[in-house]
Each structure stands twice: as C-alpha cells, then as structure tokens.
C-alpha cells in the first residue's frame, strides 16, 4: 500500500482525465467527496486496479491519475 502523507493539504489529482483539486487524501473519502455511492463503480489509480476492500487505507498522492468506471452497454 502507499505511503501515508502527513499533511492534509488539498491534493491536485487527475480524475477521469480532468485535473482537479480535492480535499480528501484517502480514496474512500474522495469517493464520498465526488458524490459516488453504492457498489456500481470500480477504481484504478495510475493504471492499477484498487479493490473496494482497500479504499479506506488507500492514500492518494499529488498528481495521481484516478479512473472511476461504471457499467455501460458493450459489444
């Protein structure tokens, strides 16, 4: 797992291709901050899958690239 960052300053991260400043440094908190709820999404950070069971202990770093995906139609 990632190193905990000691100060809780706002992070600038990339979420689904858009750079934005967020207040949460823990993934579980970020999800709430962004308005996601339920189980119908999955997350990768910097191209690596992050299981739901680890959201509460997954710390984000400056510049992280977060992908949040949900079901769509597909062929």
């Amino acid at each position: 797992m990632r190193n905990e960052i000691s100060n809780m300053m706002a992070l600038t991260i990339n979420i689904n291709g858009e750079t934005q400043a967020v207040n949460s440094s823990v993934l579980a908190e970020l999800i709430s901050e962004l308005g996601y709820s339920g189980n119908q999404f999955a997350i990768a950070v910097n191209g690596e899958f992050v299981p739901k069971s680890t959201y509460t202990e997954f710390f984000l770093n400056q510049g992280d690239k977060v992908d949040i995906v949900a079901p769509i139609a597909g062929g």
């Binding site: 119908q40 191209g47 690596e48 949040i68 995906v69 079901p71 769509i72 139609a73 597909g74 062929g75």
Partner: protein, 263 residues
C-alpha cells in the same frame, strides 16, 4: 438441439451471444435480446461521473435479464490496460468471465496477438475465464490455448463491418486443426445467412451486436439470427452433403417414359 453449448463448464442451449450496445433505446435492447434467445450478453465499463444516468439504465435492464454476463475490455491497447479493466469488471459484475480484447490497430480494430496472449496468460493465472477476441490465425489460436483459454473467438471480419466470414480458408483450418475447443465467431457478422454458414462450418456459436442493434427492426432481426443459428447448427449436426463437380439426377432415371424415343 441435440448438443448444448459448453463453455467453461457451463451449458447453454442458445448458440448466440449478443451485445448490448448501439440499440435505439434500452427498451428495444431488452426486447431484442429476449427475442434472440441469447443466454450470454456482453457489456463494458467506461469512465462515468455520478451525474451520468445512461449507463445505469442499461445496466439495470441487463441485471433484470438474469443472463450470463460477459464483460469486455473493448478499447484496451495493451495487456496491462486489459488486465486492469478485467479486474475492475470482475469486481463490479461479480463474474470471472471476460471477453478479452487487446486492440492493435485503430483502423480495423484488429486484435494485437502479442498483447492478447500476454494478457490471457496473466488473467488465467488470476482465475479469469477468458474468451479472447482474436484474429483468424491458427498459431495465435494455439498459443491462446497454450495460455489456458478454453474458448476462442476468432473474428469473421472487423468489428461493425458486417462483411461476414472474410477468410473461410483460415476459419476452416482452425476448426479442423482444433476440433475440441469451442470456437465462436466474434465480430463482422452482418446477415443471418453468414451466421448460418459459421454454424454449418462447425463453429460452435456466434457473437454479434451491430447487425441486430442497427437493423431497421432490431427485434425482428434478433429473431432472424436466432432461427439462422439454430438452423446452421442443426444442419451441422445432421451432416451436410459433400459438394461435387458434376450433376447427378435426384429423380430416378429408370422407368423414364419416352426414353430415347426422340433420338
């Protein structure tokens, strides 16, 4: 049907796998899928923010169908991308089944055989039931089997083209050289007759989307494909006659009146 389709220890009576994309509406998708008789449906994952509802509506319809889900990795261009998306799919959809796509060329969406084999090897180690979308290349198919794939899905033609079975020599060769593994024609099927042909050749099933979804009447076309695929399979199981070069009368010649009278 005499023999059900067996894929990764599961049995299916339908030999049509259907996609959930490109329909005029979610309701039409729902009706067309039901008309097709398909028991396996493909779907995908994309970036979405909490305000987007479109995917949620489709997903709700699909959940209520109760079919075997076959999430794809459409759009992935490297093994690593496909592996990550596969893990995300497994968590959301709660299935090990995966239509593995690793695309090597944007123009014809041709699978990258190297990335595909790498991704398949890793995903099978991680417990996925991989159904790889591959080209009609015998050696690539053999390598995918070596990696542990128990089903192969060679293309008939590039995705969305409706060109049918472009390289029948290759497809027949794969069928003849790999007689045991289930083979599914994935992509390129445009007409029910092309699906029939695939089943008559001994292919075990067909996966399609655009031909039904983009038809003037998707529900009618789904029914047409169902009938065509059942017909092709029944013909295969019944044993097709061999072609011959010269004519042979089907009506007996013995007892023919006027025999030689005009000569």
């Amino acid at each position: 049907m005499k023999n059900p389709l067996k894929l990764y220890d599961q049995f299916f009576s339908s030999r049509l796998l259907i996609g959930s994309a490109l329909y005029p509406s979610p309701a039409v998708m729902d009706e067309a899928v039901k008309a097709s008789g398909a028991e396996i449906i493909t779907l995908s994952l994309r970036r979405q923010n909490p305000a987007q509802q479109e995917g949620q509506i489709i997903w709700k319809y699909i959940q209520e169908m109760g079919l075997q889900l076959l999430p794809n990795t459409a759009g992935c261009k490297t093994a690593q991308e496909a592996i990550t998306l596969a893990e995300m799919s497994r968590e959301i959809f709660q299935t090990d089944w995966l239509k593995l796509e690793v695309i090597g060329d944007d123009y014809n969406l041709q699978p990258d055989p190297y990335g595909l084999i790498d991704a398949a090897s890793e995903l099978i180690k991680r417990g996925f039931k991989v159904l790889p979308y591959c080209t009609d290349d015998l050696v690539v198919c053999q390598k995918l089997m070596d990696a542990g794939c128990e089903v192969l899905m060679p293309w008939g033609a590039p995705i969305g083209t409706g060109q049918g079975l472009l390289n029948k020599y290759n497809l027949k060769t794969i069928r003849e050289r790999l007689p045991q593994i289930p083979l599914i024609i994935d992509a390129g099927i445009g007409a029910p007759s092309q699906a029939t042909e695939a089943l008559e050749m001994g292919y075990d099933a067909v996966l399609l989307n655009t031909a039904v979804a983009k038809a003037h009447d998707p529900v009618g076309m789904a029914t047409a494909f169902k009938l065509a695929i059942d017909s092709g399979r029944l013909a295969y199981e019944s044993g097709l006659m061999l072609k011959r070069q010269t004519a042979e009368p089907s009506t007996p010649t013995i007892g023919m009146p006027f025999w030689h009278q005009g000569q």
